[in-house]
């Protein structure tokens, strides 16, 4: 295999960045769409499960879909698309209002911080260990070179992810503060308190796989967690997964922990004063964060690019018959499928349970999650000492 020159590496990295950005901007609208559809079916909403066009083609969608309701075949997956498109168009062309008394610079800065922090995390997430694909030899400049499954598979991948994800909270706090309005201020303060509290159990629950796998490298960890763990390691992984998922809900401000933007208490929380595409950035950031949290859960607990979760793959592999060996190898499609399932879980939970009160969220975090995460870490360490 030829060693790439500097130019070639840069080009490959840029291509990887492009792929990740495409992935993000495909997954996020699909999540929003799925949220409408799934919630629509869970809650018997009429709009999102029925708005569609009576005619085929894009013009049919855009021009007639909105008011020709109910005149489409019963089984149409794309019902609800006009609503989504209309929302995107609305976000883009809406007037961008800046409050008079707002701190204009910070007001601009806040949504970008949220957005950038959310996207940059993807740098250290690797979708599949080793080579993702190889360029065909006729390809100009980078022909014949392999592309790895992540942009930067660095040795401190997890640290990077946790560190950058924490920066995202600045976006929310600054948005709340710079709006110079009371409801956003309360939302910003709540989010600061909530994120600081839930950052701790989140990191602690992720430490269990770190201890078990003895690595911070994203690929190495995912691989070791999936294959090469004793069966005992199942216990800390399952507990850790549930802890992580709970904290993940809190980190992404989703129900039942959507304190910073609790609509019925704080109007719209930290983004009350935002409109147009600035609000759109917060909105995007929230969904990207959901994807990131799902990607981490998928990699560290659910076996990442392997088929089976919680390290069960290693048990299965020796017994796989030859013609099914495809299922014994890592594939990006398994990774993505797990992300999609976790995203569905987000929506599912939102449709089912009410919101915690602010002080109750704190109590849950400090009194239950952190002690449980510590015990879980101890358990993982014991297994590491005696069983691995």
């Amino acid at each position: 295999m030829p060693t790439p020159t500097l130019t070639q590496s840069i080009v490959i990295t840029l291509i990887q960045c492009l792929l990740v950005v495409i992935f993000v901007f495909v997954v996020v609208p699909l999540t929003v769409f799925a949220e409408r559809k799934v919630l629509g079916h869970l809650q018997m909403r009429l709009g999102s499960t029925r708005i569609a066009s009576g005619h085929t083609g894009l013009s049919g969608f855009l021009n007639r879909g909105m008011w020709k309701m109910g005149k489409v075949p019963v089984l149409s997956y794309w019902r609800g698309i006009p609503g989504l498109l209309a929302d995107v168009v609305k976000l883009i062309i809406k007037e961008d209002i800046i409050p008079d008394k707002a701190d204009r610079f910070v007001f601009f800065l806040a949504p970008s911080i949220s957005m950038v922090a959310a996207v940059v995390v993807f740098a250290a997430i690797s979708f599949v260990p080793g080579t993702f694909f190889t360029f065909p030899t006729w390809f100009p400049l980078v022909g014949g070179l392999p592309v790895s499954g992540g942009i930067a598979d660095i040795n401190v991948g997890l640290l990077w992810i946790l560190g950058v994800a924490t920066v995202g909270v600045y976006g929310i706090v600054l948005a709340g503060w710079s709006s110079n309005s009371k409801y956003p201020l309360l939302g910003g303060l709540r989010s600061a308190a909530q994120m600081v509290s839930y950052e701790v159990p989140l990191a602690l629950s992720l430490l269990a796989p770190v201890v078990l796998a003895a690595s911070l490298n994203f690929t190495e960890m995912a691989t070791r967690m999936a294959v090469g763990m004793p069966i005992w390691a199942l216990v800390p992984q399952v507990i850790g997964f549930l802890l992580y998922l709970t904290c993940g809900f809190a980190e992404t401000n989703r129900l039942p922990f959507d304190m910073p933007e609790a609509e019925n208490e704080l109007v719209a929380g930290f983004h009350t004063e935002y409109s147009g595409m600035k609000f759109g950035l917060f909105y995007l950031a929230e969904y990207i964060n959901m994807t990131v949290v799902s990607a981490l859960a998928s990699a560290f607990f659910l076996g990442g690019p392997w088929l089976l979760p919680f390290g069960l793959q290693g048990l299965l592999n020796p017994y796989l018959p030859g013609f099914l060996s495809w299922f014994g190898e890592p594939h990006a499609i398994f990774f993505v499928a797990k992300i999609i399932f976790l995203l569905f879980t987000y929506i599912w939970v939102r449709g089912t349970i009410p919101r915690y009160r602010y002080d109750q969220i704190m109590a849950v975090g400090w009194k239950y999650l952190i002690p449980l995460a510590l015990v879980n870490l101890l358990l993982a360490a014991a297994i590491r000492c005696f069983a691995v």
Binding site: E263, G351, R355, Y356
Partner: protein
């Protein structure tokens, strides 16, 4: 270097969970509410004064627009108060139909309360489920009187029309499924840990305070006082109905939730009895061409879904319109208990308290 300061904040008049144009002035110490005053009047239309200038017949359309979630209950109170004033006896069949529609209205009103209250606490799904069943009740309203929300369902002296054909089938169909629907809501809420955490012990209002403030309806019954005008001073056909008055003693938001859920089941029971025992006969009393008041003044109270709605009418003997008209609006009086419930709690509790009050601003501001 640091100083502590309380923040004053307006909850409303435009806020997702003040159920209309209620404005609540809050003073916050962090997130704790130290001071809470409801400010009303944003929806004042002068309903009482308008009714004084109209004939006895015309006033009813204004009662629709007071508590627009329970228009039928308001119509019933208005019609009966006028009948007392004018000395009219209503035929028995009309009484039964009135009772039936009134209980349907109680269900519709409680469903709105359930949906919005649950949504305030973050349970989005219940809202849409509740509105699905409310839609059926509105269809029944529509079948009976042609309109869905502002019904103007009754006439002084009885009803304008008898039940339409196919009405009984609609009612029976609704009754057959409604109990399961209630179970569905309860499955989402009653044993839900978060729902319990958010409501148990929140926004307490003891029986003493409730009586001192004049609070009536489910709020009072959740504090352990079994005062229901349908039982205490039966009107319409309630004397012939067999139903219970659900009460709880905890006096918190969860108790109010339980009381209202139980009330919906009782309402379905009353509807069943009305439908089964529906007498034959005329639905309208013989009335003179021009209505003139027979007595000087009358106060008539009925149990609306929100509490005691009382109509006070003063009519000089022989006059064509009421000389003075006043409504004892349950929402208006119940709302006065908000500071008692909310002060000392958190912002989220204020929202839960407002939700458990079940207020409609159209009635409070009139």
């Amino acid at each position: 270097m640091f100083k502590n300061e309380e923040m004053e904040i307006n909850l409303g008049p435009q806020h997702p969970s003040t159920h209309g144009v209620l404005r609540v002035k809050l003073r916050l110490d962090g997130e704790t509410v130290t001071h809470c005053r409801p400010m009303i009047g944003y929806l004042h239309r002068g309903v009482e004064k308008i009714c004084e200038n109209q004939s006895f017949f015309q006033g009813q359309v204004w009662t629709d627009r007071m508590d627009y979630c329970s228009a039928v209950a308001n119509n019933l109170g208005w019609a009966e108060a006028n009948e007392k004033l004018l000395g009219i006896t209503v035929p028995r069949r009309a009484q039964y139909i009135r009772t039936l529609l009134n209980e349907f209205n109680r269900i519709a009103s409680h469903l709105i309360w359930l949906g919005t209250h649950a949504m305030d606490i973050g349970a989005l799904t219940v809202f849409l489920y509740a509105f699905r069943e409310r839609e059926d009740v509105l269809d029944i309203n529509e079948a009976f009187c042609g309109s869905r929300l502002t019904t103007t369902a009754f006439r002084i002296g009885g009803l304008r029309e008898d039940l339409p054909p196919g009405f009984e089938k609609m009612v029976r169909k609704f009754l057959a499924k409604f109990s399961d629907c209630l179970d569905e809501y309860e499955a989402l809420l009653t044993e839900n840990r978060i729902w319990k955490k958010r409501t148990i012990g929140v926004a307490k209002l003891s029986a003493e305070d409730a009586i001192a403030l004049g609070v009536t309806g489910p709020m009072l019954r959740a504090a352990g006082v079994a005062y229901d005008i349908r039982k205490a001073f039966p009107y319409a056909a309630y004397a012939e109905m067999d139903f219970e008055v659900p009460t709880r003693t905890e006096a918190d938001t969860y108790a109010r939730y339980e009381v209202r859920m139980a009330e919906m089941r009782q309402s379905a029971r009353i509807i069943q009895q009305c439908m089964d025992g529906m007498p034959e006969g005329p639905v309208m009393a013989k009335l003179p061409k021009i209505l003139r008041s027979e007595v000087n003044e009358v106060y008539h109270a009925t149990e609306s879904p929100k509490g005691e709605i009382g109509y006070y009418l003063v009519g000089e003997k022989g006059s064509l319109n009421p000389y003075r008209f006043h409504v004892r609006a349950p929402g208006f009086i119940n709302l006065q208990s908000l500071p008692k419930m909310a002060e000392g709690g958190l912002i989220a509790d204020v929202v839960a308290a407002i939700g458990s009050l079940d207020i409609v601003l159209g009635e409070i501001d009139r």
